[in-house]
Symmetry: C2
Subunit: 399 residues, 2 copies
């Protein structure tokens, strides 16, 4: 019998993580029945809550606020240890005193997106109308819905205009949506490794991930908590697929090549002979512990639906016509999920709309993940863009 | 409750397909206990059988035989309707009277690879020692094992030297293996959309597919037939993943873009709103009916293990040193599974080894699948290469 190693099942979902959905280790803004969130699908969501973190101090003019928008598998813990995993803030390379997102100068806000599972209302939250978890009763949401919720939070914080909206990947989508939905409230926008619409290939990869989750009998039509199960295998497979797309062929080759895992010769089995197999299995298993399977369905769906031009008769430039926002668009050469061609299309539309826009394509073999990694050129460009905008905004003395 | 459409379960595996494993609609070469196949894992496989198809007539000199090697999901039915699906031969673009693989001139042989499920011994075959299906008791095989089995078939047919070995993708790997294992038996070799070793990214995609299969409870550790089940969902997800890699971003955009399926507006559900989703689901479901889940594990594993240089102290050129074989290597610009860089590495090694080699990179947006499609430039190059080699071989009057 050939030796087999499949993804390890977990007996129960991480309890800390489950707790975070309703009772997050974060600041929480509650919105009551009188403040519904109008969703694109037509549903008024109320009540609901937004969990968020802040760093630095809001100045007297309320003019130094930066909203950081997180990616699909990120959350609001951009600059502090994660309450469930204990890992450092996911953008520690960029955020902190003296860094690009300089907490000595700026007031940085990061909120958990709608549909996520770290304290903002989503399928893993309790539906107050039933006392049960929302599960698939949660309405399907969009990137504009996420941004509309964030705008309600920014209102609640008494901030009229954000100095900057910043984000990569799905966070970049939110940044681009902020800029078209609330152009006067966004002084500057830094959109990294993203696009104004999801490509057919990206929809295909997301659909693959969703099918992997829904194919797992432990998913139980989204009612896994009620059934006392968890679709760890399906979500693990979905994560493995996504993780491959976050890296580049070159990065995988550099990191792993065809090197064997703790052995010199093949075992002639389905064991993880190659390091890259072992790595992927780990990525799949560890992700399952910190994420929610239904949230994964909802957030990937929101990205798939994203198409800024669609609301402007298919003309992207119209979405940004006459904008006063200062834009910086960044792509990475080896990012094949959001390739430079996508960023160029965004830049062309911004130019056509008359926007101030700078664009940088950064040479790296780190793939889409580069926006989360220590890539000095990216960090320098982010800092320079925010400093330049900060000088115009009067936040920084001009050099 | 959000509308959900998951991959449709099939109640039973296609019975015709199951029958083909032991009793193929093909010619069969039986190898008895006295003719074991020595496998790389150290096992002597005996007895075993090879199912194959032939087209055209072997000449008196036995000098006009072409061996076509099929890809991962292909089989021996290269030029006739498939006995299970009824679909036309998978390389009808290339094979037939007057075509590149000219059945008026050449005797074309295509055998089902070892480990497959269309009549050559594999995990879906009955193990004569137990009377049960092999399943995961079948030894893990390699590309060199497949080629060694094919050489036994060629011996059986009384053919000393093949006029040509031809194949794409996994078939191209076999072609390159034939050329190094039996250099004097291969007059010419046409290796398309392939590589002498599987990249880390390709191993990663295969591991994803295997985990999807093994995560399906209906897989039952490979004993699904005994359990009366079939891992249709896991294999469907694996196929969806693989299918994305067979196409290109550009091809998906051209074929589907962001077009909706039979609707104008999003349904705000997990239904297949986009055409690309519907297409992928169909690809997943239809594949499941004609393939065997365990075979998928074995054949992907064989590809992962493939590394010609590894048997030559890591020096690929040594594998082809002094060869007299005429080579033609073909790649496609949009093939990201076996990109042109891989083919160039093969060509450089062949050059360094002193081989006669021509190389063509064909401009197309059809991705890896291009080798199976009607791509006129590829068809013309294949014909020209075989005609040129045929003239030297004395099969065709020189022009």
């Amino acid at each position: 019998m050939v030796n087999v190693q499949a993804l390890k099942p977990e007996t129960a979902r991480n309890k800390d993580s489950a707790h975070e959905a309703d009772h997050p280790t974060s600041l929480v803004a509650l919105f009551g029945a009188d403040q519904p969130l109008r969703l694109d699908c037509g549903v008024d969501l109320a009540p609901f809550q937004i969990a968020y973190q802040t760093y630095g101090t809001l100045n007297a003019d309320r003019s130094n606020a930066i909203l950081v928008c997180h990616a699909l598998t990120g959350d609001q813990h951009v600059g502090n240890p994660h309450p469930v995993t204990g890992k450092p803030g996911w953008w520690n390379t960029l955020l902190g005193p003296g860094k690009a997102l300089d907490t000595d100068r700026y007031f940085v806000i990061c909120s958990n997106v709608l549909g996520s599972r770290m304290g903002t209302t989503g399928p893993a939250s309790t539906n107050p109308a039933t006392g049960k978890l929302w599960g698939l009763d949660f309405p399907v949401i969009t990137i504009p819905d996420m941004v509309r919720a964030q705008a309600m939070l920014i209102d609640r914080l008494g901030i009229d205009t954000l100095f900057a909206v910043v984000g990569g990947s799905m966070g970049g989508m939110q940044t681009l949506q902020w800029s078209t939905a609330y152009p006067k409230r966004v002084f500057s926008a830094l959109a990294v490794a993203c696009s104004t619409r999801h490509s057919a290939q990206n929809i295909a990869f997301h659909e693959l991930g969703r099918q992997a989750v829904m194919a797992d009998p432990d998913w139980h039509g989204g009612r896994y908590f009620e059934e006392g199960s968890y679709p760890h295998r399906g979500l693990g497979v979905a994560r493995m697929a996504a993780h491959i797309t976050y890296l580049s062929d070159a990065a995988l080759h550099r990191k792993f090549g065809r090197r064997m895992q703790d052995r010199d010769l093949p075992t002639f089995s389905f064991d993880a002979d190659f390091q890259v197999e072992s790595y992927l299995r780990y990525q799949g298993s560890s992700f399952v512990e910190r994420f929610d399977a239904n949230s994964y369905l909802y957030l990937t769906r929101a990205m798939d639906y994203f198409d800024v031009a669609a609301d402007h008769n298919g003309v992207l430039a119209e979405a940004y016509r006459g904008t006063q926002t200062r834009f910086c668009v960044v792509s990475f050469t080896s990012d094949w999920l959001f390739p430079t061609t996508e960023s160029r299309a965004t830049v062309h539309a911004l130019n056509a709309g008359g926007a101030r826009v700078s664009f940088a394509e950064i040479e790296t073999d780190k793939g889409h993940d580069a926006f989360l990694l220590d890539v000095p050129e990216f960090i320098d460009i982010s800092r320079a863009f925010l400093e330049s905008a900060g000088a115009v905004r009067g936040l920084i003395a001009e050099k």
